[in-house]
């Protein structure tokens, strides 16, 4: 087995591990009223302390995606071990990077969709990681919300497959040149 294949195999194995850890990658809270824990493979949303059942439905489809990605990874790693590799399966390498879009999506929804309903004085902060104070008013009530957006510990571990995949690409390019 070549070095590139070894790195690629370790990419697949670490990806399989991360895919099947049933923990969220990201935590997002709007004033503690709207709380989201999610990963590409699962989601839980709670509104005023009660879990949204419709989010459980979405959770089911995300888990189906988990099964899809998992089977692909197992298949590709088996093919690699047998030496019959067709194409690299790169999904797990770009998922954590793609995940930065999640807060941007929430920002777009809150700032453009909800502001069209509530009126002009609605300026939602753009926040990727951190805490932000958000003040607005609605029907003579002044609302002050603390917005939290944090990756969980697992999120940082999801970059391990990304790094391994990039390493595999680089070493593969070098060995093909020589």
């Amino acid at each position: 087995m070549r070095t590139t294949d070894r790195v690629l195999l370790s990419y697949y194995v670490s990806s399989i591990l991360i895919t099947f850890i049933p923990l969220p990658w990201w935590y997002y809270s709007v004033g503690g009223i709207f709380v989201v824990y999610d990963s590409p493979f699962q989601i839980s949303v709670s509104l005023l302390g009660s879990n949204l059942i419709l989010a459980k439905l979405l959770n089911l489809f995300l888990n189906a995606f988990r099964v899809y990605v998992g089977i692909n990874l197992v298949y590709n790693s088996l093919m690699l071990v047998r030496g019959k590799q067709v194409a690299k399966y790169s999904t797990m390498a770009w998922l954590p990077l793609f995940y930065m879009l999640d807060p941007l999506l929430i920002y777009a929804v809150f700032n453009y969709v909800i502001s069209s309903v509530t009126g002009d004085n609605f300026r939602y902060p753009l926040l990727i990681i951190g805490v932000e104070d958000f003040v607005t008013s609605y029907n003579n009530v002044n609302i002050d919300m603390l917005i939290f957006s944090y990756p969980t510990l697992l999120y940082w571990f999801t970059f391990i497959p990304t790094i391994l995949y990039i390493t595999a690409l680089i070493t593969g390019r070098k060995s093909s040149k020589s």
Binding site: F61, A64, Y75
Partner: protein
């Protein structure tokens, strides 16, 4: 399209089919829950007792999170320590009146404003209302 992707699709579809019964049931309850959330009012407030020195207000918290009443105050109204109303409970809140006659006059003149400050988790709601 390679065999990995085809097998993955089959696996994912099988996974969804296993839970097919669950999907229809969950969808039903999900819609029901959203409708209930719309019906839900923040706090049910009713006055239980009042005399010239205090007003007793009963507050019912229908939410699954606790609500803190930080402040209820006006020119002749005083509120003591913040009161925490745990989820799905009712509590009586006493509001002291410092000067009854002045308060009545203020209300008659449409000049009595009450500041109400509530805290739910990390959200603070403040409103100034004319009585």
């Amino acid at each position: 399209m390679n065999w990995g992707k085809i097998l993955g699709m089959v696996g994912a579809l099988a996974f969804i089919l296993i839970y097919l019964n669950y999907i229809t049931l969950t969808f039903h309850y999900g819609i029901l829950q959203v409708e209930n959330l719309r019906l839900l009012k923040n706090l049910n407030v009713s006055i239980v007792g009042a005399n010239s020195s205090a007003i007793i207000v009963r507050m019912n918290n229908p939410l699954n999170v606790s609500v803190t009443v930080c402040n209820i105050s006006g020119k002749y109204i005083v509120f003591g320590k913040p009161i925490v109303i745990p989820p799905q409970t009712t509590k009586n809140v006493t509001i002291q009146i410092t000067n009854y006659q002045s308060l009545v006059n203020q209300i008659d003149n449409n000049d009595e404003y009450i500041l109400i400050k509530l805290k739910i988790e990390n959200t603070t709601l403040t409103s100034v209302n004319l009585v």
